[in-house]
């Protein structure tokens, strides 16, 4: 959600709900981790760093939310800026591609997964030349798997017989 500023002297901001959600996620982690730690043991030596850090994190969260919700005045040090740009669909698609790449590796091998990921990523970013897309993806994807497996002796699972 974009911020809107009406002017420097009586700027009024709408609540940045996206930021509130994200900050709440971080605070939720602090709270969960504190509870999880205390559930393991209430011994001082278990929580001596985690409890103060978590509580401080929760306190800062309340401060951040307070500043958002109460609509503090404009930060005089902040440069004049437009609202935050909307989330790019291509970014979400690229994230999903990376997720699929990681999930598929153990099943179809690093070599195949890397080639497919590169093809999809290049196409997503607008590269239309198919010979280049396939050629580049094959060289880099298979080459990387070969380098790690054969030269560096990292036991990456691969599908292609030549890389077994």
């Amino acid at each position: 959600m974009e911020r809107q500023e009406t002017g420097p002297s009586n700027a009024r901001r709408r609540i940045d709900w996206d930021h509130v959600v994200f900050a709440s996620f971080l605070a939720g982690f602090c709270l969960w981790y504190l509870i999880e730690t205390l559930s393991v043991s209430t011994d001082f030596q278990n929580w001596l760093l985690i409890a103060p850090a978590s509580l401080l994190g929760l306190g800062i969260y309340l401060f951040i939310i307070g500043a958002e919700v109460l609509g503090a005045g404009p930060d005089p040090k902040a440069p004049a800026r437009a609202g935050r740009p909307p989330l790019d669909v291509r970014v979400l698609a690229f994230m999903a591609l990376v997720g699929l790449y990681v999930i598929s590796m153990p099943f179809i091998g690093f070599d195949t997964a890397s080639v497919l990921f590169l093809v999809a990523a290049l196409r997503l970013q607008g590269e239309r030349r198919w010979p280049l897309v396939i050629g580049y993806s094959a060289v880099v994807g298979l080459g990387a798997a070969w380098v790690f497996k054969s030269m560096l002796s990292v036991p990456v699972p691969t599908l292609l017989p030549a890389l077994q």
Partner: protein, 505 residues
Amino acid sequence: MIDTEAAWAAVRLLSATWEPWLVVIPGLLIGLVFGAVPGLSISIAMAVFIPITLYMDFVPAILFLTAIFTGGGFGAAIPAILMNIPGASSAVATTFDGYPMACRGEHSAALGIALAASTVGTALGYMLLFLFVDPISSWVLQLGPPEMFVVALWGLTLIAALRDRHFGRGLLAGIIGVLLGTIGMSSRGYIRGTFESIYLLDGIPVIPALIGLFAASELFTLLGSGYLVADEERRRLSFRDILGGVKVALRQPLALIRGSMIGVAIGAVPGVGASVANLVSYTEARRRAAEPDSFGKGNPDGVIASESANSSSEGGSMVTLLALGLPGGAATAVMLGAFMMHNVTGGPRFMADHKDVVYAIIFGNFIQVVLLFAIGLGFVFVASAIVKVPLRFLAPTVMVFSVLGAFSLTGNMVGPVTVFGFAILGYFMRRFDYPVAATVVGILLGGMAEGEFLRTYQLSGGDPLLILGRPITLVLVLLLTASLVYPFVKRLRPGIRTSAKDDAA
């Protein structure tokens, strides 16, 4: 302090045969490549090539491995500057100012600065090793948990310095990092936050998390951009600019010396090393700067501080390896393996009986430093060509190497999954102005801070007056306090001078 007879014997040892010098250049190149490619690391390089050293004599073997170490130490700065992706945790602080410089089209100058700082830092580190190896080794033996805790705390204070415009967000980001750094089994045996998974018993794998937070999230952010450097005019390779950067660094001798001293001191502490040294050095440089707010926006002094410290820490870590037989980190652990392969045990006996060999290693590294500069100049000139590669090719390629590299570090899917998870986190942190660097600092140091604090508490039996009996701890606490107070005193001084002028008038 210096055994001149052993020194001459070392010179004769090095000049008797060409063999040591044949291995140094390949070692430097291997280190540069492994340091510069995100996903590869120096410890992987050393582990892969250690079998070759079986067929070498001891001195060439160690020179080969230290060449990889030296090359990798600088190599990690290259992706840090060009892509905001530190090639190793020792180059995290290099990204803070190196990458903004690259975005302005000053990539060649930034690489030149990093090369000069690395070269000088390595040289100073080995110089201090040569002069003070015995006193430093006895000092290291006196270090314990209280001292290590203060060092970790010093590094954590960088979180406050990274606050950018939003102090609360910076602090929260750092706290999240500290909490993430404590996941796993504590030194007391408590298991927290693992979801019953054995893969998280040792905690979140740090390097994959770092790759995800820095590299992968940066790649998400860059999507849609054409090139790393927007302005085509500035997207050029310039040897002159690289040399210009070298001159900029050499005009800051005090910064180089300060960073190097910090690097040697911290590098000598086992288990701490370059990943802390670059952060502490950067923190100090920022606190002492005339314009601290310029740090993080492309201030060359930030690159100088980080690179001089992470390079000189190699000399410091060699102290513990040679004089005490203790590895300081993964890379020196591999070197210790090379020691064992040649039936050599580091430690006081080794130092006493084979000082000529120790000096040969040190002198060999002085020559390595000169070669690093020469080879590094050519390497960065070629590496800087990366700014000409369209991001639509670069981004997924770097992602592939990052994910594969993460797998190689953990040996299982935990690495790639960690990269992915932290990439998502890093992207949204950037989107909402939470400094990713603060989280990285927290992850790197949180676990260490908790562990050392815990051991200090156990040592003292809960008595805080323990530190009064530990002079090194007291000195470190005083230094830490002075560094925290110094920026405020600096700000007050103009006010005091002004009121004195008023009184005089």
